[in-house]
Symmetry: C4
Subunit: 213 residues, 4 copies
Amino acid sequence: MLQSDNTKKFPLMSLNRFEAFSDGVFAIAVTLLVIEIKAPDLSHTTSSEAVAKLLQVLPHVLSYATSFIVIGVVWINHHALFHFLKRVDRTTLVINLLLLMCVAFIPYPTALIGEYGSSLPVVVFYGLSLAVTGFAYNALWFHVVSRYVKTDKLIPQKIVQKATIWTISYPISYLVAASLAFISINLSIVLYVLIPSFYLLPGIIDKQLMEQV
Amino acid sequence: MLQSDNTKKFPLMSLNRFEAFSDGVFAIAVTLLVIEIKAPDLSHTTSSEAVAKLLQVLPHVLSYATSFIVIGVVWINHHALFHFLKRVDRTTLVINLLLLMCVAFIPYPTALIGEYGSSLPVVVFYGLSLAVTGFAYNALWFHVVSRYVKTDKLIPQKIVQKATIWTISYPISYLVAASLAFISINLSIVLYVLIPSFYLLPGIIDKQLMEQV
Amino acid sequence: MLQSDNTKKFPLMSLNRFEAFSDGVFAIAVTLLVIEIKAPDLSHTTSSEAVAKLLQVLPHVLSYATSFIVIGVVWINHHALFHFLKRVDRTTLVINLLLLMCVAFIPYPTALIGEYGSSLPVVVFYGLSLAVTGFAYNALWFHVVSRYVKTDKLIPQKIVQKATIWTISYPISYLVAASLAFISINLSIVLYVLIPSFYLLPGIIDKQLMEQV
Amino acid sequence: MLQSDNTKKFPLMSLNRFEAFSDGVFAIAVTLLVIEIKAPDLSHTTSSEAVAKLLQVLPHVLSYATSFIVIGVVWINHHALFHFLKRVDRTTLVINLLLLMCVAFIPYPTALIGEYGSSLPVVVFYGLSLAVTGFAYNALWFHVVSRYVKTDKLIPQKIVQKATIWTISYPISYLVAASLAFISINLSIVLYVLIPSFYLLPGIIDKQLMEQV
C-alpha cells in the first residue's frame, strides 16, 4: 500500500493512534458533560420538595442530552471520513487537534446553558461554540477531501459535492439558530435540539458506504 | 467477508472504532464515579472524630461500588453481544449512542443516592435511571438480534429466546426494586446491590460462547 | 489457536476489549488524580505570599506523584500478566472488575492524604486502600496462574513461585506500612513513597519475558 | 521480527497497550483542561453584564487553548518517536510513566494561570511545569535513541543529531520564557502561546518519515 509513487510526498502517520487519541477525546468530552450537573441540596426537604428540586435539574439533563448527541454526531462523521483513509499528514493532525479542542470545550457552554438557559448571551454563546466546532470539522473535511479523496478518487465527484453541501450546512444552521435567539430564545433552544437529531439520520457518506460495499 | 450478497444492504462501519468509543465511555463513566465522593472536612478533629467522619462516607462508597458493578455488567454484556458481529449499521450506532448517554449519566443519580440515601424520590430516581439504561440496552439487543443474529443465524433460535428473557428481566427488576421503595427504602437499596451482582454470574450468551468455541 | 481440546471448557472473550477497557480505567484513574489538587486563593496576595501558598500545595503534589506511580505499577504488572494469555474467562472478567474498582477509588484516599497528611486515620486509610488494591491484584494473579499459566505451562513452575512471593509481598508491605503509622506517621508516608518506587524496578516476570524472547 | 539475536537482551512489551495507555492519558489530560474553567455567576444580571462576565472568562479560554496545544505537541512527538519501534523495555516504561505524570499534571498550572495570570509566581510556575514536562520528554528521547534507534540504525545519525537539538531546545525555550517573566509577565505569556504553535510545524522526524516512506 506504500509502494505507489505519490505516497512519497505524504508522510504516513499510523491511523491507529490518530483514531485512538481522537476517540479518547470524543469519549471523555461526552462523559464529562455529566459532571456539570450539580446535585441539588435536598437536606431537610420533604419528598414533594425533593421531587420539585429534582425536576429543576431537567434543563441540565436536556442540555446534557443535546450536547451528547452533538458530539456523537461529530464522532460518527469523523469516523465515516477517516474510514476511507490509510494515512494522515501533519496538516490533518493539526486541524484535527483544533477540532478536538473545540469538541473538548463543549462541556463549558453546556454547563452554562443548563444553568442560565434564559440568558440571551449564554444561548448565543452555546450556538456559536457549536458553530465554531462545525467550522473546524469543515476545515478537516475540505483538507481531507482535497488531499486524499480527490487525489485517490476514493469517492465519485458527485457524491463529494453533495456531502460538502451537507457538511457546510451544519455550522451554518447553528449560526442561524444562534442569531434567532435575538427574536426568541426558546426558538433557538428548540433548533439546538433538532439540528443534531436531524444529523443522526443516515448521511450522504453513509449511503455511499452502503453502495460501495 | 464482504463478498456475500446480503452485506450490500448493510453499510459497514468498522467495529474497531465503534468498540473503542464505547469502551472509552464505559471506562470513563465508571472512573468518574469516584469524583462524586467528597472529602469530609477533617481540620481540627481528633483521631476518633476523623474516623467517625470517614465512616460517614460509607454510603458513598457503597453507591460507588454498586454503580461500578452496574456499568461493568452492561459493559460485559455489550462485549458479549458485539463479539458475534463484524459490521455495524447506522441504526446500531444511534441506539448505542443513546445507551452510552444513559451509562454516562449514571454518576449523577449515584452521587445523589450516596448523599441522600434516605430520600424516597432519590431512591426511586436511582432505580429509574438504571431501568432506563437497561431498556436502552434492550433496544440495542432487539435491533442487533433481528438485524444480524437472526439473519446470519449466528446463535441457535432457542438460545436467543432464553437470552432475550434474561435481557428483558434486567430493567424490569430495577422497575420492581424502584417501586418497592414506596414500601421500604432499605429493601430497594438491598435489591439495587443484589441485581447487578446476580448478573455478574455467567449469562446465557456466555454459555453459548463456551459451547461454540 | 482454538483447535486444542481444552480450550472448549474456557469461554473466550476477546483480550482486545478486555485490555482496552482496563487500560482506559487505569489511564483515567491516573489522570483524575490532578483534579483533587485544589488551586489556592491567590487574590490580593504579594508575590512572596503567593509563593508561600503555592509551596503549601507540595503535599498534594507528593500524594499525586505517589498514587500515580502506585497505579502505574499495577498497570505494568497487569500488562505483563496478560501478555501471556490469549483468552479470558468470566471469572477473570469479574475479578478484574473488582481490581479496577479499587484502582478507580484511589483518587479519593489520595485527595484525603494530600489534605490531611498529619491525620492518623487518613494515613492508615490510604495504606489500607492500597493494600486492598494489592490483594485484588493477588486474586487476579492466583486465578490467572491456576487457570491458564499452570494448565498451559506458559512459565516454568519455579518462576511462578518466585513471582507469587513477589506479588503477595506487595499488599503485605502496605499493611505493614499502614500499621507503622501508629508509631510514626512520617515513617508510613516515607514507606508509601518507597514501596511503589521499589516495584518500578524490573520484576521477576519481566526477567522471564527477557529470557524467553 | 523476534528471531534476530540482539532482541534477546531487550524484554519485549507489546507496544499496543503501551500506546493505548499513553494515548489515554494524553486524551484525558487534554479534555480535563475544560473542567478548570468555572462558570461565572450570571444570576440577576442584565444581558450586557452577562456578556461582560463571559468575556472575563477569556484568559481561561486562552490558557485552555495553549495547554491543549502543548499537550497535543507532546502527543504528536511521542507518536512519531514510537512509530519506529517494535518493542519497549522496562526503562522506557518507567521514563514514559514519569512523562505522563508531568503531562497529567498540566491542568493544574493551567487552572492557576487562567485565574491568576498577572501573578509572577504563577506565570513562572506554569513555564517551569512545561519545562519539566519537556525535560521528561528529553529523557525518553535520549533513552529510546541510544537503546533502539542507534542500535538498529533506524534513522541516519545526521538526522538524529538535528532532531536532538530540536528536542533539547523545547524545554530550554520554556525556561527562557519563564525567566523573562521577571522582566515582563506579558512577554512570557506571549512566548508560552508561540512556542507550542511553532512546534506544530512539521518537525525533523516528520521530514525523515516523509523521505523514508
